[in-house]
Symmetry: C2
Subunit: 144 residues, 2 copies
């Protein structure tokens, strides 16, 4: 049985793909009972859309694939703490689990309130956070 | 010169369209210098997507139309107070103005924090609020 770390490594692969195409390197994978339903990365530049975060793209793709607005049996793995937009979207979907890597003190949802998520969502933070943080730091350093 | 009330009436027309297709009746219009760039209504049922709120659809359409992730010269008119997801999305886009009708004590963004919006966004609330509220109340009453 594959564990959280396995899926977070796939999310990191997605973050690498984001970096390779000039996007802020954040990746996400959405899993239901060991099946990967969606995986994507930040595409705000490519789509010219400030809402095209990895989490939003996975969420919309998964709801379409599963034909459900609610994802109580799904877990989202994402390399960076979701922003308030993404957390509230995960709240609307009543997602079962959220596992994230690096914290985001500037834009992360916990800066506002954890209540943006559904009360039943299980949250795990800090998984492979150093690798996720490293990708982000390198990206922003290379842009300066 | 057309004023806020003109555009809010168009947003109410969109809310009526939502109701006619069995969606929660919320409508939005996005305007830049008297040009209507996008108008849409809640489509969460039709698209089976919990993120398909009127505001998100207008925002994504407008960014594509204007080829910009930032909408500092735009004003969004929406019949109901945006939720945290939509407010944070408008924050990412640094939208110039937000005019909304009815308040939403349960899910409205001001329940969390107004800081989800960009600090330069001008906000006007309560415009044609009674009409917006009436549509919502009738919709939920008819569903009981």
């Amino acid at each position: 049985m594959k564990g959280d770390e396995y899926y977070m490594r796939l999310a990191l692969e997605e973050a690498e793909r984001a970096r390779a195409s000039g996007e802020v390197p954040v990746g996400a994978v959405l899993v239901v009972e060991e099946r990967i339903i969606a995986r994507d990365h930040n595409r705000t530049e490519q789509l010219c859309d400030p809402t095209a975060h990895a989490e939003m793209l996975c969420l919309t793709a998964a709801c379409t694939a599963l034909q459900s607005k609610y994802l109580a049996h799904a877990t989202l793995y994402v390399t960076l703490e979701p922003c308030a937009m993404c957390a509230a979207a995960l709240g609307w979907a009543q997602i079962g689990g959220l596992v994230y890597g690096a914290s985001d003190p500037q834009k992360g949802f916990t800066r506002y309130t954890p209540a943006l998520l559904h009360p039943r969502t299980r949250v795990r933070q800090g998984l492979l956070a150093e690798a996720a943080q490293y990708l982000l730091q390198e990206f922003f350093r290379s842009r300066r």
